[in-house]
């Protein structure tokens, strides 16, 4: 089997190399033919009259281009074959393959055997290559949309694909054979990865990372060929949104996994690898906003080109950080020496991009004209500033230990306290802009109209803030918020108040639009809002994404109210945390083929009433000889009761339990669902027909009254 996999990888590399060079050759020929036809090549006569030679040249270049396209499609087949072979080897417990030996064992449950594909260095690179080939497969099948632009994008994709296939063939071979005696059983999968979400978190994250190669390929292709107009933006818009949704999903699945598995009670630790996933997300989000400026006004062409490149580059940089070990991270499971390869690849892509950018930047010049500071255009500029600044802050914080080591000779830690101080104020500014932005019109907004639209949401937000400060704390986590007691309370109050502001502005946008449609069609308000959304899915889908974001922010704001307590719990012992009382009913152990476990049984009381029984577990994985906690979490809208079985007291054998009361965490996961729903809505094509209204009595025929829309 290993031979088949190795051969498939070599074949994929050969096909990619062919796809790249044949693609370049075909495009060079086509450019030459176009130049000859128009007689623009200096010092040479035009071939315009020698039509047979031109036709032959054109036909030849088209044929070469077609073979390049087919080679790209075949690459997908070859990489898919290699991936299937690796998964089959995992299911067959073929420990003659070093990768399977190090990342699987006989008793590993079936779903995790499938996840072996992306659980280690070599496999995850193969998976990355597979996803890239799959994206390329779809792109090359849809080439008729714009054959020339797609040919350029295909060449760029082949270049990126070659890098990953070179890695797989020569630096991190997934089918390397074990030397000497083959062990009877494997080392097993990292226990932290043996969790259902780990089966979907990496694929989602990789779909996001890899997906940003597509907008980059189109952008670079458009830059190289000096593509006229903004069509490439329209072509890549859906790709970018889908990719962004995958990355969002991947980032938050990672956060949920950390929360559910790592047992420290949090979901985001500002670890370099977490940061690496956040950075492309931030620039990608900035691009999704600024691209509208290019579509609507033909502005920010250069800036958008840079944003697309930065997003792609940061995704690769993230992988470099994960794999090189240059910055210490808890995600050490995939470190190796392939960092040099990534560093070279980053350098080469930067040089290639810079070369074509400076060579063709005159093509990107546009007539920027702003009529007012109070306009949608200005808000997008500030929006981009804040997103890029947040990205810079995260990048700066991630690299600062290394910079500090170079400058002052010693490393420093850059953890959560740094990001809380620096990133939260910027995030709050961004939240203000999220509230104001949608209320601004393109070109110019009068201050009167801004005041009119903004007044009620602002009053609403202030009322909520006062209400939260005035209410008693016993009402729940977010009540009784006294911002003067602690800076984190101040941030939380600001975040919640601004979230309310955004929600009310979004609601007012739906309401005002719905009211207009309702007036014209005499439908109910809800039906009108549905129709409104369908008539401009991108705009109203975007608003729903904004609403999802504020729900997530409210969830983040809850962290200021968290409580935790640690206690040894013998039979019948009590622990009180917040409104909950925990009574230890029992503790015991168990044995399964893959792991041994210790767990406690705790009755949970709220007041005098028993509301639940919880069982936090600690497992010992036999193959890898590592332990892992499985916290038991009782989730509610107000707070999560989060119990961790930390271990046994060696003196008396009593379990030691840690209880966390984490406020508003469920809001984060709900917000992510809303964001994804909004993204899906934004991907649905707009309803084509204008609204038709019944004709007035004095007019005989039906009269259509169009209602204009705009992002």
């Amino acid at each position: 089997m290993a031979e088949i996999g190795s051969f498939a990888l070599l074949l994929a590399l050969a096909l990619s190399v062919y796809s790249l060079f044949a693609g370049i050759l075909a495009l060079a020929f086509q450019t030459q033919v176009s130049s000859q036809l128009t007689g623009v090549v200096a010092g040479r006569p035009a071939l315009g009259e020698d039509s047979s030679l031109v036709a032959t040249l054109r036909q030849g270049s088209e044929r070469i281009g077609e073979t390049a396209r087919r080679a790209g499609i075949a690459t997908f087949g070859a990489v898919l074959l290699a991936s299937i072979v690796l998964v089959i080897c995992a299911f067959r417990d073929d420990f003659s393959i070093a990768y399977i030996l190090h990342h699987s064992n006989r008793d590993l449950p079936t779903p995790y055997k499938f996840a072996v594909l992306w659980s280690g260095q070599e496999g995850s690179l193969l998976f990355w290559s597979l996803l890239l080939a799959a994206y390329g497969f779809v792109l090359r099948l849809r080439y008729k949309t714009d054959p020339r632009l797609f040919a350029y994008a295909s060449v760029v994709l082949s270049g990126v694909q070659i890098f990953f296939l070179l890695l797989l063939n020569f630096a991190a071979h997934p089918f390397a054979i074990v030397q000497g005696t083959i062990p009877a059983d494997g080392n097993g999968l990292n226990p932290l990865l043996q969790y259902p979400e780990m089966v979907i978190h990496p694929p989602m994250l990789y779909l996001g990372y890899v997906g940003f190669t597509i907008p980059f390929a189109f952008a670079l292709g458009a830059l190289i060929m000096k593509y006229p107009g903004e069509k490439w933006i329209n072509i890549t818009r859906r790709w970018t949104m889908v990719t962004w949704a995958f990355l969002t999903c991947g980032v938050f699945l990672g956060a949920h996994w950390a929360y559910s598995v790592l047992g420290w009670g949090g979901y985001w630790g500002w670890d370099p690898v977490e940061n690496a996933s956040l950075m492309p997300w931030l620039t990608g989000t900035a691009f999704l906003h600024s691209v509208m400026m290019q579509e609507k006004r033909g502005m920010l062409k250069m800036w958008n080109m840079w944003l697309v490149f930065a997003t792609f580059w940061l995704a690769i940089l993230g992988t470099f950080l994960t794999r090189s070990g240059i910055i210490s991270s808890v995600h050490a499971f995939a470190q190796s020496s392939i960092g040099d390869w990534f560093a070279w690849f980053l350098a080469i892509t930067l040089v290639v991009f810079l070369f074509f950018f400076f060579k063709n930047k005159s093509h990107l010049r546009s007539e920027h004209k702003l009529e007012s500071l109070v306009s949608r255009e200005s808000s997008f500029l500030f929006n981009n500033l804040l997103f890029v600044l947040l990205c810079f802050t995260v990048l700066w914080g991630t690299w600062f230990p290394k910079i500090s080591e170079l400058v002052q000779g010693n490393k420093v830690t850059v953890g959560a306290p740094f990001y809380n101080r620096v990133a939260i104020p910027v995030a709050l500014l961004l939240l203000i802009l999220t509230a104001v932005g949608p209320l601004l019109a393109w070109r110019k907004t009068s201050l009167e109209s801004l005041k009119r639209n903004f007044m009620w949401p602002t009053i609403g937000a202030i009322v909520v803030a006062i209400f939260l400060m005035a209410t008693p704390q016993k009402w729940g986590s977010a009540f009784g918020l006294k911002p003067w007691r602690d800076i984190s309370y101040f941030y939380s109050l600001m975040a919640i108040a601004l979230s309310v502001l955004v929600t009310l502005t979004v609601a007012s946008e739906f309401f005002r639009g719905g009211r207009v449609i309702s007036k014209h069609t005499r439908q109910g308000m809800f039906a009108s809002m549905v129709q409104l959304t369908h008539r401009n899915t991108r705009r109203y889908g975007g608003y729903i994404v904004h609403f999802g974001v504020v729900v997530v922010i409210i969830g983040f704001a809850g962290a200021a109210f968290n409580l935790d307590k640690e206690q040894e719990m013998g039979y019948g012992d009590k622990m009180t945390i917040g409104p909950y009382t925990l009574i230890c009913r029992s503790y015991t152990d168990d044995d399964a083929p893959n792991y041994a476990s210790e767990w406690a049984v705790l009755d949970v009381y709220k007041g005098d009433k028993q509301i639940d029984t919880m069982t936090p577990v600690r497992r010992f994985y036999k193959a890898s000889r590592q332990t892992s906690t499985m916290p038991d979490i009782r989730s509610g809208l107000n707070e999560d009761l989060y119990l961790v079985f930390e271990g046994l007291n060696p003196d008396n054998g009593h379990p030691i339990l840690k209880a966390h009361l984490n406020a508003l965490v469920m809001w984060i996961w709900m917000g992510v669902w809303i964001m994804l729903i909004g993204t899906v809505l934004a991907l649905i094509p707009n309803a084509p027909a204008p609204v038709r209204v019944p004709a007035p009595a004095r007019v005989a025929s039906a009269h259509a009254e169009p209602i204009a829309t705009g992002d």
Binding site: V330, L370, L381, A416, P417, Y489, F490, G647, T709, G710
Partner: protein, 205 residues
Amino acid sequence: MWGPPPSAVRAAQPGRFAGSAGEVMREGVVKILRECVMANSSRKTKRSQPSLKAVQTLVLCALVFAFLGASDPVTRFNEIGHQMMCICGCNQILLECNHVGCPDSDGMRNELMASLTRGDSDSLVEQGFVQKYGPTVLAAPTTKGFDRAAYIMPFAALILGFGLIVLVIRAWKNRPAPAIADGLRPVRGAELEQFRDQARQETDL
């Protein structure tokens, strides 16, 4: 995500300060309060400047919110404990290190509590830990020496970016309108506003 203050912060008592760092903060806040009051009273004779007053009020509010945290030993234990890392290699905040049998966190917590009980100031406690465990024991860069760059850079970038955007907007705004065909004149001023209002009314969604 909002960081530090779990349980004990809830029991905070506003206005109470302990240790020299707290004293310095209190003196600073009182000084600024006094200056603001004096500035306001002297301005009563002149015409007050609303924007300056607003800026002063904002600065004051920010300082009050930043420094008025309570500082009894338990609160300080929580605050400082959340500013430090466990050194066992788990990469966790000292008070969040959650594995039983950690060779370091229990000892470090005891040391922290002992220092606070002795009445050491925040900076003295931190210095002691840095001397013993190295600078990586602090969860965030200090505000001294080169470490300051960690905090300055993002805000410098914010100010720079903000200024740059304002300049760009002004430049774009002052750019002359593109030439249009003969016989047509650009619509400006009140006439343009009239067309805008009409367009809004007809297309308002």
